[in-house]
Amino acid sequence: MTWVGRAIRRLEDPALITGQGRFTADAAAVHWVRFVRSPVAAGKLRSIGSPDGAIVVTAADLKGVKKITPMLHKFNYKPVGQPVLADGTVRFIGEPVAAVVAASEEEAEDIVDRVELSIDEMASVADARAALDASAPQVHTEAAGNVILEGKVKTPDFDAAWNNAYRIVKVDARSRRQNATPMEPRGGHATYDVATGRVTLTCTTQMPHLTRTAICDVLGIPESDLRVIAPDVGGGFGQKMSLASEYVVLVWLARKLKSSVAWTEDRRENLIAGFHSRDQYITLEGAFDRNAKLLALRTDIVSNVGAYSCFPTTCGVEPLMAMAEMPGPYDVQQYQCLARGVMTNTCTMAPYRGVSRPVITFALERLMDKAARAFSLDPIAIRRRNLIDRFPYKSAMGLEYDEATYKETLEMAVKAIDVPAFRKRQAEARAKGRHLGIGFATFSERTGYGSPAFAARGMEITPGWETVIITVDPSGFVEARIGSSPHGQGLRTTLAQIIADEIGVTPEMIKVVHGDTDRAPYGWGTFASRSLVISGGATLIAAQKIRTKLIKMASQLLEAAADDIVLADGTAKVVGTDKAIAITKLAREAYTQTHRFKGEIEPGLTETGHYDPPGTFSNACHVAIVDVDVETGHVKIEKFLVAEDAGRIINPMIADGQVHGGIAQGIGNALFEEIIYDDNGGILTATLADYLPPTAHEIPPIELHHIETPSVNSITRAKGLGEGGTIGAPAAIINAVNDALSPLGVEIDEMPATPQRIRAAIRNAEKAA
């Protein structure tokens, strides 16, 4: 019996369902911190007036503290520094200007209200296209014209393909701004140890080691003086992988006060200053031949990156990922792209689950549906003609796609949803004035990519590899220390399943330790659908070494050939005999009876695995059926179906849970969630009554179908799948809305497709007619 492939219950759950989880905000501190934040979108900071007796820390106090300056060495990137507290200039509403320290959170908040900021307000710009205008205010002098980076690519034969096209189809896609909205806002707790001079920072991060590196760089202290702990983290979705400047202040304060300080972000802070994403304009044109086969793609990507560049990815993460992965699952070798990161007086952009791919998939899938219409084809037929079906496939951008099932998942979804039956129902409904629609989205999801992929972006910091150290201790229990930092993905369970199969013990005997820089090896954390592939690969390598050593030990003790020994059910057995020894006993002897191994086996039972894979592509086809109320603009999702392929599945229950959760976020993206700025950079969505993550009402039952194509680029054969749900769902839903409204001559190429936007589109179409 193997453990991999089984839907075992999660080892994480018992603590979390009994209220025994340990989250950052659970620890008490001597001092509490609240931040004074900029009330204006742009201005010169003249003075900060503190109430008598209050501890108010400002940039003037932080002498020697460097700016956070993430770096890219390509794409004409302009390094832009962010002072951890605003230093003379404020650039967005919510930017931290001062830190107030008091004995309680309430008291600190009272003082914040009494801090007087004198700011000369300046003209600001919130919209990326407006920021490109020659007359627009400059957010940073270093980034002339507000362009912080510019990626350009044009394949050699592009013009020839373009000029030979039978038909050009164009889409102007607009994705509004989102906030990842983890249910636990950010927060940190820093405590100083007088004896050692070390600070322990407990914070809600997805990347504890890099948080340590970044803070020590900025403060100019040795990394050995800082321990970073990511305890239970209440969701991250990318928002918690970027460095919060607030954490730097907390560590600085703990050292200064030689005490403990804590900050718990409130929801308003999170919504206005906790990083945003997905604010993009994409103009996409496809050149098709007579048979609706795509010959070339041309695109212009304008990504609103906000007021600063996030660490570590830099603000290149959205525009550059859009540029690199735009051709998606379609076979097209000629490609031209201009991708710009544009600075504005808005909250800084950071990665959010899916990073750009929800937007590029939206643009591409709208393009495919428009092209289908132009060629009088159905949306399925045009995808059949254009999806990649030979592997390995090299994309126009030089990415190598490993074997996947773009066409197969499409066919699987088409069959499962029963398109002819739907079309019949749709026609009947239309006759009665009801507007049903069906929408498809096929996409590729690049996952588990190693350091070369990040290096290709010119990143100064190239996350990629992971290290796992497995120890079987003298008790016979197993501990795997990992550099990844899961926060809901169930990695403690799935990695235990991988180890259990290698060394023949049950997952309950295996503890996966993560999220503590004192306990875990240096690693990059959990993001970019990487942990199961990369940390899982490193786990497999380390576990294989443990297995080899256990077999060698057993072979000596049982006087049998290594090839004849199997590890299973907690025992090393000699095949075909009754000779056996318990693995717990072998582990004990590895420490306590080393003389028995004649100096041929090193003492102890600890092995290390490193893994830095090339990356592997998951894929899926999403299908949505919607019912649009043309009077109110309300969209009801009747059905959502997914056919997906993420390689070998380690734990089907956890895998399905990731897909469900991603789709729910994608539905929010498609229909509800939007961070809104007014023309003065004022933010209008600062509560969860204004910014609307979906509830149980809005999420339909999700039907999942699977194909497992083992990846040759991943030693566990698993592909990543953490982001796919968010990538496909918005496109499928908005295509379905468009299908529903097609008799009215309405086209919606903007998300979220809120009731207001749908109504406006219908009204406009009525006027035009």
Binding site: I17, M183, T695, A696
Partner: protein, 159 residues
Amino acid sequence: MSQKAAITLSINGRDYSIGVEPRRTLADAIREDCGQTGTHIGCEHGICGACTVIVNGEPVRSCLMFAVQADGKKIRTVEGLAQGDKLHPMQQAFMDHHGLQCGFCTPGFLMLAVGVLEREPDISDENLIDVLSSNLCRCTGYQNIIKAVRAAAKEMRKG
């Protein structure tokens, strides 16, 4: 800062005599004054429901109630759901049906669902989804939470 009021919070059968400012929310008092950190705070404006506890038999958003309003009332939090090592059917069902991922919203969902099912054991599916729409979860997409609550409802009706 204002005068502190002396109140007694009865949480999971144990009395906590504490002094709180009148403006202190029940959520903060449960967590900070009584040390029961299983109740989480997600928005402090009554939308997300992460802080849901049961007060005198009714699910309540503890961020919208002042601690002084709960003086003398019977409060149940996630820490009181299991009887010793025996999990409440709702907790067991959340594990069995993968109704949680990061676990941050989970205590609120557990208390919401338990509070409602104790009041209305035969709640219709439609009403159940209405009720569960009171709270936000960002990880699961809700389907497994709904499954878990349905399964627990069956168990609780037996019980």
